[in-house]
Amino acid sequence: MKNKNYDKFFFWIVCLTVLAGFFILFSASMGLLSRDGADFSSIIFKQIFFGLLGFVIFLITSKINYKKWQKFALPFFIFSFLLTLLVFEPHIGFGHSGAKRWINLGFVNFQPSELLKIAFIVYMASWIASRKDDIKSFKFGFLPFLVITAFVGLVLIAEPDIGTLGVIAITGACMFFIGGGKYSQVALMFFLGLALLYVLVLIKPHAMSRIMVFLNPGFDPQGVGYQLKQSLIAVGSGGIFGRGFGMSIQKFHFLPEPIGDSIFAVFAEEFGFLGGLFLIGLLLFFLYRGLKIAMNSSNSFARLLGSGIIISIIVQSFINIGSIIGIIPMTGITLTFISQGGSSLAIALASVGILFNISRNG
C-alpha cells in the first residue's frame, strides 16, 4: 500500500472549497464598506496571504510522513494547551464581546484554540491507537478519555469558546467510537455532554440567552435575538436562486459579522437554495472522500487521525451553518475555509495536508 498516488480527486475538492470560500468572503466583505472602521482591502489581502501561506504549509504537511506526528503527539498537545492558556495573559491575550480567544503575536493575531483542535486530534489518534482493545475498558479507556477532554474543556469554557469545545468534544467522541469504544460508553458520553450543556446554561448568562433565542427565535429581536433574526431573513429572502453574486443586501447594514460566523447567511442570500445544496453537497462529499482515505489506510493511527481531521472540519462547518439557520444554538464559531480568519484557514489547510499524506502513505 506504500507510495500510492495522492488522492487527486480529494485535492480538487479542497481547491474548489477554498476558492469558493474566497469568493464568498470577497462578496461578504463588501458589506463592510458601508461600516465604519473596517478595511475591505486589508481583509482581502490578509485572506489571500494566509491562503497562500496555508497552501505552502499544506504542501509541507502533505510531504511529511504522517507517522512522524505520532511521535510528537504528546509534546505538540502540551505545547498547544499551554499556548491556549496564554489568552488569559493580559499582555498578549485579548478578545472581544466578552470572550478571550486570541493572542497577539506582534505581526498577527492568532486563535490558539485552532491549533489546540488539531493537536487534540493528533494526540487522541495516537493515544487511542496505543490503547488498542483497552479502549473498551472503563478504567483504561473511557475514564482517561474523559479526563483529557475535560482539561481541554475547562480552558475553552473559561475563554469561553463553547463552539470550539463542541467541535472538539464531538470529534473526540467520534474518534473514541471509531477507535472501538463501547456503544454504551458513547451513549453515556452523549448524556454527559447534554448535562454539561445544561450546567453551562445555568452558570453562563451568555449561554442562557443563546438557548432562549434558539428555543424562541422571536426572543429579544433587537438584542441577543438580532443576529438570528437577521440571518434567517438573509437566508429566507435568498429563495431558490438567490439574489446573485455580490447582491446580498443584508450584509450591508443588518447582518452582524457578515464575514465571520454569519457568512453562510450572506452566501445563502446570494446563491439561494441551489447554492446551499451545492455547498452542503460539497462538504458531504468532502467528508466522504476524507473518510474513505481514513478507511483505506493501513493502521489504526492513520485511520483515527484521518477521520478525526475530516470530521472536525465538517462538524465545525455544520455547527456553524446549523446555528445560522436556527437548528442549533448560536456558537460563534466560523465556517472553515470560508469565514475570514487567517490562522483558521492556514491550520485547516495544514490539517488537510496531513490527511493528504495519509492518502499517499496509507
Binding site: L33, C174, I178, G180, S237, F273, L283, L287, F318
Partner: protein, 569 residues
C-alpha cells in the same frame, strides 16, 4: 478490527450525513416554503421612510455679538404609518388616534382600505410625546416611526430669504431662497430612493468626491436677527397701514456689501408652505422683480455729472416747470416752475426738469455709461437663487425722452438689490461692491469658509461720493418733511422716490398707483449702513416722504443705537 472500524466509520458518516440533510431540509423550509415571508420581512426592513434619515445642514443668523440663532434646522418627531393588512378595526383606531392628533380622515380610511399593502403613511410631524401616546394604545397595524423634518423656528421671519425644503418629484431639496442656492452644501441625506442600496451609495460618494460635491456644512448668514426683526416689524406696520400690495426693505453695509437684513412683506410660514395659494409668495422680489425706482435715481444722475465735472453743487439752472422732448412733455411732480435754482434744489424738491437738465449736461452716452457702471442692468451676483437683471434697454434707443425719463427713475426698471448696491457707491466712496448674505460656511471638516468682500469696480471718484453725500444729508436735514427728522448729532443722507407703476407687459402706467421708494444712509460720511425701503401700491398716501420717512428714521435710530455708532457732529 478492520471490519468493525469500517462499520463504525459508516455510522459516523451516516449521522453527519443525516445532519447535512437536516440542514438542507431547513434550507428548503426557509428558502422555498417560507421564501415570500422572509422576503417581505426583508423588504419591510429595507423600506425606510426617507423622512427617517433626512438630514440637512442648518442655517443661522448671527447677531453683532456673534450670538448664533437658528433660522432653519432639523426637528425630530414621529410619523404615523398603518399596516392595512394587520389593521383590524380602522374605525376604532381612527377614533382613538384622532383624540391625540389631527388625522386626515379621508386619507386614513383610504389607506386602511389598501389590504395587502403593509405600509401607508397617514400623518407626519408628530411630536415625540404624542407619538408615544399613540404607541401606548397598542393597536395592531398602527406603527410609529421616527421622522426628521426641516423646521424654521422663526416661522415667517426672513421667509422669502430662506425659502424652504420641499419635494421635487421624490426628492427633498431646497426649493426657494437660500435653501435652494446652498442646496449642495446643506443637503446631506435627502432620502432619495426608499430601498437601501449601498452599492449605489458608495458610487454616489465617489462621484461626490470627484465633483467636489462633498463639502457639506452649516451656513451662517450676515443677517442680524435683531436688525431683521426690527426691519420686519416696520415693514409689517406700513404694509398693513397703507394696505399695500407689498413692502420690502434691505439694510446693507455699503462698505462691504454685507446684508444685515432683508425682508419682504407679506411673507409666508415655511413650516406650512403647503398652505400657500400662490407660488409667487415664495419668490423674493428683492432679487427677482424689477421696479421703476423713481426719484431715488436722481442722486445717481447728479453724482455722475459731478464725477465728470459737468456740474457743481453751486451751479444753477432755470427751471421752467417742464421740458418737451420728442414731442413729449416732462413736468415736475406739481407742474410748477421754480425759476433759477441751485443743484441742491433738484434733490431737495425732487425736480424732474432738473434731473433732465443734469443728464443733458452730462450727455446721453456718458449717462448711459454711468448707468451701466452703477451695475443697473447687471446681476449683482448676490448668493440668492435666480437673480434677474434690470431692464435698461430703453437706453439703447437714441430718443432723448428715454434718457430724460431715466434720469429721474422712470422707463428703466431694476431690482431692489441692484438699486441698493448702486446707491451704496454714493455712500462708500464710489466703489461698486458685490452684496452677500452668507457670512461663512462651517463645513463638517471644521473649516469655516468666510465670504470675502468683493469690489467690482470704481464707479465714482471719492470726492464725488463725498459731495453727493453732503447734498443728500442736506436733503434729510432741510427738505425731508421740512427737516423735522434732522438729528443733531448724526448726519444722515436720504432721498425719496415716488414712481408710477408700469402695467405688467404693457408700455404704460397704472392710474393712481405708485411705488414708493426710500433710501438713506448713516452716518452720511463713512456710512455704516444703507437702508433701502419700498412700498408697492400703497393706498391713501401719495408720496414716499409721507409713507416711508418714519420707518426709515425709526430704523436708522435703532441701527445707530444698536451698533453704538459714535456721533459724527
Amino acid at each position: 478490527m478492520k471490519d468493525g472500524f469500517t462499520l463504525r466509520i459508516r455510522i459516523v458518516y451516516i449521522l453527519i450525513f443525516l445532519f447535512g440533510l437536516g440542514i438542507l431540509g431547513r434550507l428548503f423550509f426557509l428558502q422555498i416554503l417560507h421564501h415570500s415571508d422572509y422576503k417581505e420581512m426583508a423588504n419591510r426592513q429595507y423600506f425606510v421612510s426617507p423622512a427617517q434619515y433626512f438630514d440637512r445642514g442648518s442655517i443661522f443668523f448671527e447677531s453683532k455679538d456673534g450670538e448664533i440663532v437658528s433660522a432653519a434646522t432639523i426637528k425630530e418627531g414621529c410619523l404615523l404609518a398603518i399596516n392595512p393588512t394587520l389593521l383590524e378595526d380602522p374605525e376604532d383606531a381612527y377614533n382613538k388616534i384622532s383624540q391625540i392628533i389631527d388625522l386626515d380622515k379621508d386619507l386614513f380610511f383610504k389607506s386602511a382600505d389598501k389590504k395587502g399593502d403593509n405600509y401607508e403613511e397617514v400623518a407626519h410631524k408628530i411630536s415625540k410625546e404624542k407619538g408615544e401616546e399613540i404607541m401606548n394604545l397598542n393597536l395592531k397595524g398602527i406603527n410609529i416611526y421616527s421622522e426628521r423634518w426641516r423646521y424654521y423656528p422663526g416661522n415667517e421671519m426672513a421667509s422669502r430669504l430662506l425659502g424652504f425644503v420641499g419635494y421635487n418629484e421624490d426628492k427633498l431639496e431646497g426649493r426657494y431662497g437660500l435653501e435652494k442656492y446652498y442646496d449642495r452644501i446643506l443637503s446631506r441625506i435627502d432620502g432619495e430612493g426608499s430601498i437601501v442600496n449601498s452599492f449605489a451609495e458608495i458610487i454616489m460618494d465617489i462621484k461626490k468626491v470627484i465633483t467636489g460635491d462633498s463639502i457639506k456644512g452649516d451656513i451662517v448668514l450676515t443677517i442680524d436677527p435683531e436688525v431683521q426683526s426690527f426691519l420686519e416689524d416696520n415693514l409689517k406696520s406700513i404694509y398693513e397701514k397703507y394696505e399695500a400690495e407689498m413692502a420690502g426693505g434691505i439694510i446693507i453695509d455699503p462698505q462691504t456689501g454685507k446684508i444685515l437684513a432683508m425682508s419682504i412683506e407679506p411673507g409666508f410660514n415655511p413650516n406650512f408652505y403647503g398652505e400657500e395659494k400662490s407660488l409667487s409668495v415664495f419668490l423674493n422680489p428683492i432679487t427677482q422683480s424689477v421696479f421703476e425706482m423713481g426719484s431715488i435715481m436722481k442722486p445717481l444722475t447728479l453724482a455722475a455729472a459731478l464725477d465728470q465735472n459737468k456740474i457743481t453743487p453751486q451751479m444753477t439752472y432755470d427751471d421752467k416747470g417742464y421740458v418737451i422732448l420728442n414731442n413729449k412733455k416732462i413736468e415736475n411732480y406739481d407742474g410748477k416752475a421754480r425759476g433759477v435754482v441751485a443743484m441742491q434744489e433738484i434733490l431737495n424738491q425732487s425736480l424732474n426738469t432738473g434731473a433732465v437738465y443734469v443728464m443733458q449736461k452730462l450727455g446721453k452716452e456718458e449717462f448711459k455709461n454711468y448707468v451701466i457702471n452703477y451695475g443697473l442692468g447687471e446681476k449683482t451676483g448676490i448668493d440668492l437663487p435666480d437673480e434677474i437683471s434690470g431692464l435698461i434697454s430703453n437706453l439703447n434707443s437714441d430718443r432723448d425722452i428715454e434718457f430724460a425719463t431715466a434720469s429721474f427713475g422712470q422707463g428703466i426698471a431694476v431690482t431692489p438689490i441692484e438699486m441698493a448696491s448702486a446707491l451704496a457707491t454714493l455712500a462708500n466712496g464710489g466703489v461698486l461692491i458685490k452684496p452677500y448674505i452668507v457670512e461663512r460656511i462651517e463645513t463638517d471638516e471644521g473649516i469655516s469658509k468666510k465670504t470675502e468682500t468683493r469690489e467690482k469696480r470704481r464707479v465714482l471718484k471719492e470726492e464725488t461720493s463725498e459731495e453727493i453725500s453732503r447734498m443728500l444729508s442736506k436733503v434729510f436735514d432741510e427738505a425731508l418733511m421740512g427737516g423735522i427728522y434732522k438729528m443733531d448729532r448724526y448726519s444722515v443722507a436720504a432721498k425719496t422716490g415716488t414712481a408710477q407703476v408700469n402695467i405688467e407687459g404693457v408700455r404704460g402706467y397704472e392710474e393712481d398707483q405708485y411705488i414708493h421708494t426710500f433710501f438713506g444712509y448713516a452716518p452720511a460720511f463713512g456710512a455704516r449702513f444703507l437702508t433701502f425701503l419700498f412700498l408697492v401700491k400703497p393706498q391713501g398716501v401719495k408720496y414716499a416722504s409721507h409713507s416711508l420717512s418714519e420707518p426709515f428714521v425709526n430704523i436708522t435710530k435703532f441701527l445707530l443705537n444698536y451698533y453704538q455708532v459714535p456721533p459724527d457732529r
